[in-house]
């Protein structure tokens, strides 16, 4: 196929060679080519090895027009070369010095396989019973960090249970749980530094929790009251916090991925000891923004961590309807990004992988991709009933046997850092705090109607000013038609 393409581009090269000065590398064995005469000498070492028998079949001329980091390649195929002449006049090249590195020639017409017989391995530290794997290559975690990790994982669980219930009671309009992905949320957050910027999707509230977002702040956002940082404008679970470097959630899947790359480029230019991290799902990895983001990050050498939560489902769409590659991890390689696959239900593996990724990203100024294998153990959201499209025993298998919180607890407990009594105290304490937070958030009035108009721009333009005035007049005429907990 490549040959076919090359033969078609026979004449292209001449048109593409705008300036001889731009030529930096390439190879040729084609003496009559104009391009040949333009080639500079530093590629000659590519001819040093003895020719392969069939090399003559690849007689062609390559040249590259390059300016700085951005290079364009023009390719030409010569079909009128005298092969005898070639073999006597010059040694045939075995590899091509092509942008990105040398490419070996082969006489074998081999297509790379679309599917890998052996799938990329998954990094794991704790087995499903909460025991350390022998020889596991992981970082030591202090008691203090480990206990906070576990506490926050439990808090996240209790939060999900109680907020979910509040939605079922009609007190909030929407909710979405993180059940099954507690380790991903908390362990990844624990391995980062607070000055790393987070570009979340929507199933990562644990990162906020880790950084100190209070239960009351969560509740305020869910109720969209006047203390909600987002001023009641977005649906529940669209948290954000300037203070905690957590960019506000948007419902649009994966749009945050290229943002994280641009922000990382800023950190790079400002020489900050920080990186960005962006979270997204398996579904999100199908978007144009994912691919654009990965490619940009590699080209711009941006210190960004791409954290894919591969939980097997995008609403009702199973992973097999989403992609046919070996998950997401292999795409990192395709874009030139160091990548790792981790067990998403193993808090220790996630912690070590993210810690290392952060180091790599900042020290080497490179993007890093992490694919965490996990399972969305809850419904997609309160608008969804996942029993309609997936078997109950599948859910059970993951919820029970693979439960990341249970697994981590075993390890923490075996270290003597946790026990039943602390567990039940913590749970009931969080439950109490949450029910207070909900009651308080519910009582607080909504943001004033002026906040519908503010922040569309930095300052209110005339059209909005007019609309605000006429809305006020209208509401004054029909007060009974409007909610009483919004100040006009």
């Amino acid at each position: 196929m490549a040959t076919f393409f090359l033969s078609k581009s026979h004449k292209l090269i001449m048109h593409n060679l705008k300036s001889t000065k731009l030529l930096t590398f390439g190879v040729t064995n084609h003496t009559s080519s104009v391009a040949n005469s333009l080639l500079s000498s530093h590629f000659l070492h590519t001819r040093s090895r003895p020719p392969l028998p069939n090399d003559a079949g690849f007689s062609r001329c390559f040249a590259t027009v390059s300016s700085g980091r951005r290079s364009h390649t023009a390719v030409s195929f010569s079909d009128d070369v005298d092969q005898d002449q070639l073999s006597t006049e010059a040694p045939l090249q075995q590899e091509l010095n092509f942008p990105g590195g040398k490419v070996k020639f082969t006489p074998n017409k081999l297509f790379t396989s679309g599917s890998s017989a052996e799938r990329t391995q998954c990094y794991r530290v704790l087995n499903e019973n909460g025991q350390l794997l022998i020889d596991s290559d992981s970082l030591k975690i202090s008691k203090e960090v480990a206990v906070k990790m576990y506490r926050d994982m439990v808090t996240l669980q209790v939060m999900d249970t109680i907020f979910y219930e509040a939605q079922r009671q009609g007190r909030i309009s929407f909710y979405l749980t993180t059940i099954g992905e507690e380790a991903i949320n908390i362990a990844s957050a624990a391995a980062l530094s607070h000055n790393d910027f987070v570009f979340p999707q929507y199933r990562e509230p644990g990162v906020l929790l880790w950084r100190g977002f209070t239960l009351q702040e969560f509740a305020n956002q869910l109720f969209g009251n006047k203390y909600d940082q987002g001023k009641g404008r977005q649906m529940p679970i669209h948290y954000g916090s300037k203070k905690l470097n957590y960019i506000t959630v948007s419902s649009t899947v994966a749009t945050q991925i290229p943002h994280a790359v641009g922000a990382a480029y800023s950190l790079k230019m400002e020489k900050q000891d920080a990186c960005t991290i962006t979270y997204f799902g398996d579904g999100g990895s199908s978007t144009g923004d994912f691919h654009a983001g990965l490619n940009f990050s590699a080209v711009m050498e941006a210190p960004v961590i791409f954290f894919c939560r591969n939980n097997g489902w995008a609403i009702s769409t199973p992973i097999t309807d989403q992609l046919r590659s070996d998950g997401i991890v292999v795409r990192g390689k395709a874009y030139g990004i160091p990548s790792i696959r981790v067990d998403g239900n193993d808090a220790l593996a996630i912690y070590s992988a993210v810690y290392e990724a952060r180091k790599l990203a900042i020290e080497k100024q490179t993007p890093v991709l992490i694919e965490a294998l996990t399972y969305r153990a809850g419904h997609h959201s309160t608008s969804d009933d996942s029993t309609k499209y997936r078997p109950a025993d599948e859910i059970e298998w993951w919820r029970d046997g693979q439960n990341p919180v249970k697994r981590f607890r075993t390890w923490v407990e075996n270290n003597g850092w946790w026990n039943d009594q602390v567990e039940s105290e913590h749970r009931s304490n969080i439950r109490k705090q949450l029910s207070q937070a909900i009651q308080a958030a519910e009582r607080v009035e909504k943001p004033p109607v002026a906040d519908m108009f503010n922040d569309v721009y930095d300052v209110l333009p005339k059209n909005l000013n007019e609309q605000e005035v006429s809305l006020r007049e209208h509401v004054k005429k029909h007060p009974q038609e409007y909610p009483s907990n919004v100040a006009v």
Partner: protein
């Protein structure tokens, strides 16, 4: 499917009105359109069904009547998040009704290629709010496929369905009405139905129309709107507006779910002695100026209402066109009661919306100008 039906009544004729139907439009004229294009089945049996079931029926008929028709989109396989494709994959197979990866530009780009090969490609965008990643494919590709090739090629078999509009708690990204963006694109048709019967007939017409159509479905009405819908195959004409309520003092023009609110305003205005004529535009591009013009010539006043922000909304186009055609006949400025020029807000939704009272106030102001 029967379980999806709110009411399961059979009627001998589509002319029979179900007295309990919610949100039924009081339009004796409305049913004649159905009759005329109901493939001659004047006495087609009908059932009282909701809007998503009507869409489901239309899709079913589309698959059944043309073996080269395909339906796909995110979560379409299990029936779609709004249940519009329920049962279709089971009946017609996973090769004709299927899930796609999460990528709107991919969905529409794929659909264009499929349509260009002579198929009917019915693509679902899960929410109109997520149509924007496909904007390039729709605007630069689908809309210009025929024109740029000198009619060598076309993708007329393409229909893009997307639920749009307010639902009470959708906020920024589950509420938008992006129709005006597409009304600015020569080569596209833009269609929005107001009720189950309209949805079925207009969707089948859109699917069979030899041009790419963007079909926005009022998702707030999927379950709420219930109406007698003929069970069989029928189409309703595109680019034909319909007077759904006759009146003499002012013309109201709208489309989709907003008509429900507008009709309530008409009823209230009538109590105060104002006679309103209400027009459902149905097809926004290319739109039926003549019907609107004729009505405004009669009433001398015009009010347009839509949920999308007022600035640059399609109401502006209607207003400009009618002022051009009826300048001397107009007795008051054209009124627009629309969404505000802000993103669609969550807790402020009741304030943002072009409510019945806002419309009623504007009717009175216009009539008393």
């Amino acid at each position: 499917m029967a379980t999806n039906l709110r009411k399961f009544n059979r009627f001998g004729s589509i002319l029979t009105n179900h007295s309990n139907s919610l949100r039924r439009f009081s339009s004796p004229a409305a049913s004649s359109g159905v009759l005329a294009s109901a493939d001659g089945q004047l006495l087609q049996s009908s059932k009282s069904i909701n809007l998503y079931t009507a869409i489901n029926q239309a899709l079913h008929i589309a698959l059944d009547s043309d073996p080269r028709s395909y339906i796909f989109g995110e979560d379409v396989g299990f029936g779609g998040v709004f249940r519009c494709t329920t049962g279709l994959a089971d009946q017609f197979g996973k090769h004709r009704v299927f899930n796609t990866p999460l990528c709107e530009q991919g969905i529409v780009g794929f659909a264009i290629g499929l349509a260009a090969m002579g198929n009917r490609a019915i693509a679902e965008i899960q929410f109109a709010d997520y149509i924007f990643p496909a904007f390039d494919q729709i605007v630069n590709e689908a809309a210009k496929f025929r024109y740029r090739s000198g009619n060598e090629f076309n993708c007329g078999g393409l229909t893009i369905r997307a639920p749009y509009g307010a639902v009470g708690h959708g906020a920024l990204y589950h509420s938008q009405s992006p129709e005006a963006f597409f009304c600015h694109v020569p080569g596209l048709k833009v269609v929005i139905p107001r009720s189950p019967k309209e949805a079925k007939g207009l969707l089948l017409a859109s699917i069979r129309d030899p041009n790419p159509v963007v079909f926005f479905e009022p998702k707030g009405l999927y379950r709420l709107a219930v109406e007698e819908v003929p069970e069989g195959d029928y189409t309703l004409p595109l680019s034909e507006a319909e007077v759904i309520r006759e009146g003499s003092d002012i013309t109201l023009v709208g489309w989709g779910a907003q008509l429900t609110t507008m009709e309530q305003a008409c009823v209230d205005a009538e109590k105060e002695g104002i006679s309103c004529e209400l027009i459902d535009l149905k097809t926004l591009l290319p739109w039926d100026k003549e019907t609107v013009e004729a009505s405004v010539r009669k009433t001398g006043r015009l009010l347009i209402s839509h949920e999308a922000p007022v600035t640059g909304g399609f109401g502006a186009e209607i207003s400009a066109s009618i002022v051009e055609r009826c300048f001397l006949r107009l007795e008051a400025p054209v009124a627009r009661v629309c969404g505000l020029d802000t993103p669609f807000p969550h807790v402020f939704e009741p304030f943002y919306m072009p409510t019945k009272n806002k419309i009623l106030d504007a009717i009175k102001e216009t009539v008393n100008f």
